[in-house]
Symmetry: C2
Subunit: 391 residues, 2 copies
Amino acid sequence: MIRKTRLFTPGPTPLLPAAQFAMAAADMHHRTPEFRALFQRVLAQLKVFVGTQNDVLLLSSSGTGAMEAAVANLTSPGEKVLVLTAGKFGERWRDLAKAYGCEPVVLSAPYGQTFDLADVKKALTPEIKAVLMQASETSTAVNHDVQGVAKLIKEVAPEALLVVDGITGLGTTHFDVDGWGIDVLIGGSQKAVMIPPGLAYLSVSEKAWAAMEKSKNPRYYFDLRKERKNQVKGETAYTPAVALVAGLGAALDYIAGQANGNLEQGRIALVNNAIVNAAATRAGLTALGFTLFAPTSPSAAATAVAVPEGMDSSDVVKALKTRFASVIANGQGEMKGKIFRVAHLGFFDYLDTIAFLGAMEHIAKDTLKLPVEWGQAVAAAQKVYAEAASK
Amino acid sequence: MIRKTRLFTPGPTPLLPAAQFAMAAADMHHRTPEFRALFQRVLAQLKVFVGTQNDVLLLSSSGTGAMEAAVANLTSPGEKVLVLTAGKFGERWRDLAKAYGCEPVVLSAPYGQTFDLADVKKALTPEIKAVLMQASETSTAVNHDVQGVAKLIKEVAPEALLVVDGITGLGTTHFDVDGWGIDVLIGGSQKAVMIPPGLAYLSVSEKAWAAMEKSKNPRYYFDLRKERKNQVKGETAYTPAVALVAGLGAALDYIAGQANGNLEQGRIALVNNAIVNAAATRAGLTALGFTLFAPTSPSAAATAVAVPEGMDSSDVVKALKTRFASVIANGQGEMKGKIFRVAHLGFFDYLDTIAFLGAMEHIAKDTLKLPVEWGQAVAAAQKVYAEAASK
């Protein structure tokens, strides 16, 4: 039987064919007017995609590189930063802060949950220079309340910078970057923007630019001040990943094309697409007998579910790959074997959700020996979709 | 919402990405050792894909070009040919025969049905020079009994040539070309071999080569004798569609790759893939209240169903495109508005079938106002698939 490879993973996500072709065609030198024109166009599109008047810079690195850039440029050794962590990527903020000699004040929530804003408020003491958090914690598929945290910072710690890892949050969450006051918002190429890994992008507020001047950290490749000086002219400080830039332009064109060329509307449609598919998937998997791992604050980027007691999520991951060439993500770290994660961000559509749930019914029945009535997960998703479509 | 374009049409069919990339990379001149090596490799692969020891030739034309080549090379004006027709493509054989001044003896079956072999036997008089038929009549999604007709020819008209349009039959039907005695079997590139239109291929028996010497028809571009002389050396008489040849090679590699590199086994798997997906689709659409248009001899290339009395299949085609960016085929000619057709040939898999049926449930409910219980079409397909997979 033919089995098409299907990525249902929260990064890399399925590649947009138009972006693949643009990448294949990107046979140009990066110190030319052609590249400068492309790069300036993509940076302008990215500002609309992020939804900000702040500068948006592109880095040739993974998202972690942009996280490091934020820490390296905005902090100094010995400073206190508040790290909000509830999973593997929150822990990365803690580790980065430590690597640069900061004193991280760590506010944790258990895996699968988000923080209590009252605790965040208490932790926002005057010494906190920056708050580091995720919009969507990919390892647990939990959504954090960026708007709520931003509001608290304005109230009780207006000097602190808000630095948000939106790597899986961008394109799956509605942000008002400038209205809420997000100083740095970070995205990655292999997520909602439908291209391979290799590029990170981040918006930087004036408040953040000012703070950067005071940082005593060493920085070179990730020196954002140097990048800003170059990128405003369509240049990059170091050799950029040219093909990925071309692919990103094509992907942003596609997203705009979903809303008659209006990229802002296209971004909103993309977020709503993730929200509806996530809700349909939660309904489908719940109908099959799985328990939502993040029932109270689920991310629209991915859905994490726990397999029933005594079962191994690795078996689900393996069977789905073997039987249907479909790839989902296992739990990370101590969650491995206990949960699996299926993504909805980027180039995913409702028919992908239907196909995934149809396949999961076979796996639930044959691999996990759950009582399955054919069509039950699909039916639950269809109800959610039909209701959303009728609005 | 994101809506991925999905072709569920019996040609063009979804493109294999590996073939698209091979086409994009096919930057070569056709009068070079590089092209000759590619072309000879692809011709050798095609022989295995067709399953014959006969010569297989490639033509840069649509499948109709190869149909014309068969008539132009194998008949002479005034000769009698038996045309078995039960749809638009059978009628094309009749029109081609007339265009070349033959006297077609037309044996028709009503649209949606196949011929009675007893009638074929009666029509096989000694004057019949050739029998022209389809393996799969794409316009009605009916399968014809090529093996049965071949057997009759051996019994009662052993001089007659058997010329089969296998354009949607190849890759969806098991043939024994040499064992049954098919003199010409014709395929097209935009069908089971997963690449765009532009190439046709055909196998030619020794009996057909001998008959060709006696034809009095004019022929130039489609002179198969000239092509044979060239193609045996890896050349073509006229400029070949180079990129499509490269794509075809990549697609045949992919089909072989589905069976550990064994192309014959890969072809068998591809046919079985179509058979299972067709059966699952028939079950799903029947569960939704549609009537099979070809209940007794359904093709595995495509499924045709009639919409309930008073409804218009054009509405289904339109709604599926508008709401889900999924393309199916309307009926052709007088069947337009009465039936629709969904394909299973080539680069289709079971999850495509699930996705299609999931979408069709929405269309049946909202567009046709049929009583739909969510998941019912998917469930019927899952039962069929589970039973096939358990064998």
